[in-house]
Symmetry: C2
Subunit: 429 residues, 2 copies
Amino acid sequence: MKDKINIGILGLGVVGSGTVKVLQQNADSIREKVGSEIVIRKVAVRDLNKRRATDVPREILTNNPIEVLDDPEIDIICELIGGVSPAREYVMRALKNGKHVVSANKELIAKEGYLITAEADRLNLDFQFEGAVGGGIPIIQPMRNALSGNRVQELMGIVNGTTNYILTRMTLEGADFDMVLRDAQAQGYAEADPTSDVGGFDAQYKIAILSSIAFNSRVNVADVYVEGITHITRRDIECARELGHVIKLLGIATRVGDDGVQVRVHPALLPNAHPLASTNDVYNAIYVRGDSVGDVMFYGRGAGMMPTGSAVVGDVIDVCRNIRMGATGRVRTNTFEAKRMIPMVDVESKYYLRMQVDDRPKVLASVAMALGDHDVSIETVVQKSTGRDLAEIILVTHTVREGNMREAIEDIRSLETVRQVFNWIRVEK
Amino acid sequence: MKDKINIGILGLGVVGSGTVKVLQQNADSIREKVGSEIVIRKVAVRDLNKRRATDVPREILTNNPIEVLDDPEIDIICELIGGVSPAREYVMRALKNGKHVVSANKELIAKEGYLITAEADRLNLDFQFEGAVGGGIPIIQPMRNALSGNRVQELMGIVNGTTNYILTRMTLEGADFDMVLRDAQAQGYAEADPTSDVGGFDAQYKIAILSSIAFNSRVNVADVYVEGITHITRRDIECARELGHVIKLLGIATRVGDDGVQVRVHPALLPNAHPLASTNDVYNAIYVRGDSVGDVMFYGRGAGMMPTGSAVVGDVIDVCRNIRMGATGRVRTNTFEAKRMIPMVDVESKYYLRMQVDDRPKVLASVAMALGDHDVSIETVVQKSTGRDLAEIILVTHTVREGNMREAIEDIRSLETVRQVFNWIRVEK
């Protein structure tokens, strides 16, 4: 048995620094658990002279990733640089060199994971990525192991911390999106270019990864419907509260019949009593419904240096155990179930709809008529005068096919008495 | 590689039936994930003629467990009979015969797990028991794998479904303990002899198992402080609600300094906003605080045929993967950290205290004085006249050593103006 396992790290940003810190601060207990010492042999960084959050000896730093990837002494590469290229080329080169790979790169895994895992499986190498989804929350390993006797029926999760932080503050403070976003940027909870988070794309990557594992299939990122939170107003949050709901950005993946799946990211109204409704601030939570286990939920910090470092180190320990036992490639990626993607128009949901109308007789009747023409029936409706001969209508529909709902909204928009359809948001149970 | 892995099952009660059902209903996907077919070769039952919840061919049933344990074709034994004896003898015989063991037997594992795991480790065999705690919730595997880079600081969990069901109904209905218990028994949520659940002993086993894994140590069941819920009244629950809290039966394990741990089971007041506070009915939830991951929580059904069957099958799949790779004994039990158990009197907590006193001047002063004599200071206090010259005092203390609190309560009991100390309950943050 190897008494030392050497790892190489690509990238010493937030996640890289966390990984180094976790390995350093718990080195003794990790050695006991693995049975070998884990040695950080080389770390590739862009700038050798930058000040770091971690203590890494200057002599193991290099600004040439190839030095790390081609070092014959290194057993495991931790790819922690993010983005598709050159991360993909680095990962493939590591595999070609017979090295196992641990990554926390959601974009790479969502877009190219199927190619990488196929190559890793072919070479009996490990490729693991617990840190790519939910920060330190164990979710990928449990789905592949403890829950693997289940047929997963549905996944639902809050998988983006930035948007959850923004929506939580909008809810608690009655504040506007733009104000909270600026503040989140100032505090480092949102990036200077927030598109990936607030546009839902980060969540889209994550739900593509989770649903691929849950459904033993390959879910393409491009097939995942995505809608961000930029159109959510404080008025919508206020109306949701009056209806006993909160608004959350959800990733949802549902099995439909024998061969269908629907995978989507969008804001939704959730009842206050739903366990995901109380997942606030930067916390993430993922709900899994399996045919035997029923509902299970995993909750924790969805990002950050130490939580994501915890996930990367958990994967490293797992790979080390495989190396020691000659058992690498032990858990394979399964894509044995071919799946048909259900288009968004065929998804069934309840809908919240808020609009401004003329405050005069029969306006509500004409709205209800337009909905009814597309088989949309109303569960609750409130109409309030807002002065100056205007009123606001807020309604929630019964469950209906989304295509019908969209057509009904088009018809409502064309009604003479409807000034503006402010917003429509899906309502989850 | 083996194209078939044979398992033998001891016991076809609730968990045994669930295990068979999960293996049968997802046989195809399990075969794909494992790479081998899992064959149920023999099942030992007490009564061959009893009607079963599952379809098991008559010819694989036996009423002789030794036939299963000694069958040379069987690779994995699922011990699902419960209790210490003869389960221990069966498990040890299985190991002696070179078979891996999956068990959901919390009492056996809490009491004798250290002997069994030592033997399994010595023989490079797998001994797994995800189903022993939290039903189908993945908690043991995640602590041993994905979270294994962490130094666990604290565990806190609702790990007994029966008591949580009873407390939830007492809370929602304002009902008495005895009434709800009788109803729970009638509905099959509580056993005819409810001692193990309502006395906290089931939770004691589970927290002993979890804390042993969390602290890489051996936590003896007998060293785990235990207090059940039989003394909780609807009035306590009502008072807790007025203080913004719910009452839950908690298992708590805390690291104290470098070598100390405290492990305990007792009812406690939890703030409404705490994620465990909304874990209701038969659901379980386990909170883990690690030094790098921070707070993570695992939530789901803590018992039942299919959830526990899901956990057993998850373990079986894990063992099968090890068998195929020649990697059994891959994750070892770690007891490398010697731990000193902190006695309950040295635990620090806040306390809720409810008493009946004479409704006259200076009574509250004398209570506060008795508390102060033992360095117990008061955070909140309410005194209410209840008529007939009596009053009720409800108070919550600041954090104080339990020994001090107990002495203070003794002093309060001896006060002439105090008619009765109804209850005192710990308050968790």
